[in-house]
């Protein structure tokens, strides 16, 4: 798994699409469309708006227009929960991009807790990830337990593990059909069988 957020990476675009709550500090002319409930054309100070991350990250951290408020999942209440039972938390349900989102928000955090929370959670969960990726069977737990990065790591771990087992058992020597070709053939067969079941009532099949 080679993931590093770059200009083209789709995960990064997904993360920067998330909305963050901000408080408006000064009057912004003709930006009223950002606020769903506003009446005038201008954005009044004191209102809270949900702005997408791709706009916020272009502005300077201490800019005069908005104050970014850190979402609750990174605040102290959750911090205690995270520390108490890190491996059992359903991180995927809290936020599908927990680590990445936190990374973007660290400059706005006055108390400097986000960085530590993310780091500690990751450190505890990586050990647990290692254990479950060695497990041969399918994941019995729900899909929501892992956040995006952890899911990718888990997948890579499972793949490496199967390759290792195949090598140990000398079963990996066959030339296999390539995955894309296999999917394509299955799809074609499915479509063919759909077509047949559609046309059967109306026409008779010629038999040799």
């Amino acid at each position: 798994m080679n993931y590093f957020p770059n200009y083209y990476s789709i995960e990064d675009i997904f993360v920067t699409q998330e909305k963050v709550e901000c408080k408006v500090n000064t009057k912004l002319q003709r930006m009223g469309f950002l606020d769903a409930g506003a009446e005038g054309d201008d954005l009044e100070p004191g209102r809270t708006v949900n702005l997408p991350l791709w706009y916020i990250k272009e502005l300077k951290v201490n800019n005069a227009y908005f104050t970014v408020s850190v979402p609750d999942i990174y605040k102290n209440v959750h911090k205690a929960v995270c520390e108490a039972e890190t491996t059992h938390i359903e991180l995927g349900r809290l936020h599908p991009y927990f680590y990445e989102f936190g990374r973007y928000l660290t400059p706005y955090d006055r108390n400097h807790v986000i960085g530590r929370i993310i780091f500690e959670t990751m450190r505890q969960r990586v050990r647990h990830l290692l254990d479950i990726s060695k497990n041969d069977g399918h994941m019995a737990k729900s899909e929501l337990r892992l956040d995006n990065i952890e899911a990718k790591l888990h997948e890579a771990g499972v793949r490496t593990n199967t390759q290792y087992i195949n090598w140990l058992q000398l079963t990996g020597n066959k030339i296999l059909i390539s995955e894309l070709v296999e999917e394509h053939q299955k799809k074609r067969k499915r479509e063919l069988s759909d077509d047949e079941s559609d046309s059967l009532p109306s026409s008779k099949r010629a038999t040799l």
Binding site: I13, Q29, P52, N173, L176, L180, V181, K187
Partner: protein, 202 residues
């Protein structure tokens, strides 16, 4: 009060979402979507140009945040579009390695014309590279062969569908009928196994 301006960047993000969540290898090229995003980009840009020129004449800085917001939206749309095209071209490249130099018909329908040309150019570059890479042996090496280290010179294969006649390097003709088994040299037969026409039996 007209809410004509909405948060920009939604349509472009939809393009990416559809691409990511589609079940097919390459979903159909979303011509409409791309055109809508391009129009949105043009509209935002014209508004910004008009506003910037008025700023030049009046020197009034109060509308600067709006200008900045539109600029960020422009960059965002551009980024989404480029990522969409880049992801599709990545998948087209894997197509060449998996399916060989010819794309199956139904996948080809999902590609737009420049993408088909991209595939052909990529195929050509790959072929030229393989030719040059094997210069010392006199002929090129086929990089799509031997993806795993081979263990034996000949392999036992079973035919999965009717393929017809297949000619080996030494001129021998093999008739590939469904369910027939053969003992063939690995190097020439590997591409057929990867295509699913033959199946490698241990």
């Amino acid at each position: 009060m007209s809410r004509a301006n909405k948060l920009f960047g939604d349509k472009a993000f939809e393009l990416l979402k559809d691409l990511e969540r589609s079940s097919q290898t390459i979903p159909a090229f979303d011509d409409d979507g791309v055109r809508q995003v391009l129009e949105e980009i043009k509209a935002i840009f014209e508004e910004n140009v008009a506003q910037a020129s008025s700023y030049n004449s009046s020197g009034d800085r109060s509308l600067w945040p709006l200008l900045n917001y539109r600029h960020a939206a422009l960059q965002r749309n551009k980024r989404c579009l480029l990522a969409y095209l880049y992801e599709r071209s990545k998948r087209i490249k894997t197509l060449r390695w998996e399916f060989g130099p010819i794309i199956p018909g139904d996948i080809k329908q999902a590609l737009c014309e420049p993408e088909v040309q991209f595939f052909n150019n990529y195929s050509k570059s790959l072929a030229a590279f393989m030719c040059n890479a094997g210069c010392s042996q006199g002929q090129g090496i086929d990089l799509t062969n031997n993806l795993h280290p081979p263990k034996s010179l000949y392999i036992e294969v079973r035919c999965m569908e009717d393929y017809g006649k297949f000619e080996l390097d030494d001129g021998e003709l093999i008739h590939l009928k469904k369910n027939s088994q053969h003992y063939l040299p690995r190097a020439q037969v590997e591409s057929l196994v990867r295509q699913g026409i033959l199946q490698h039996i241990a």
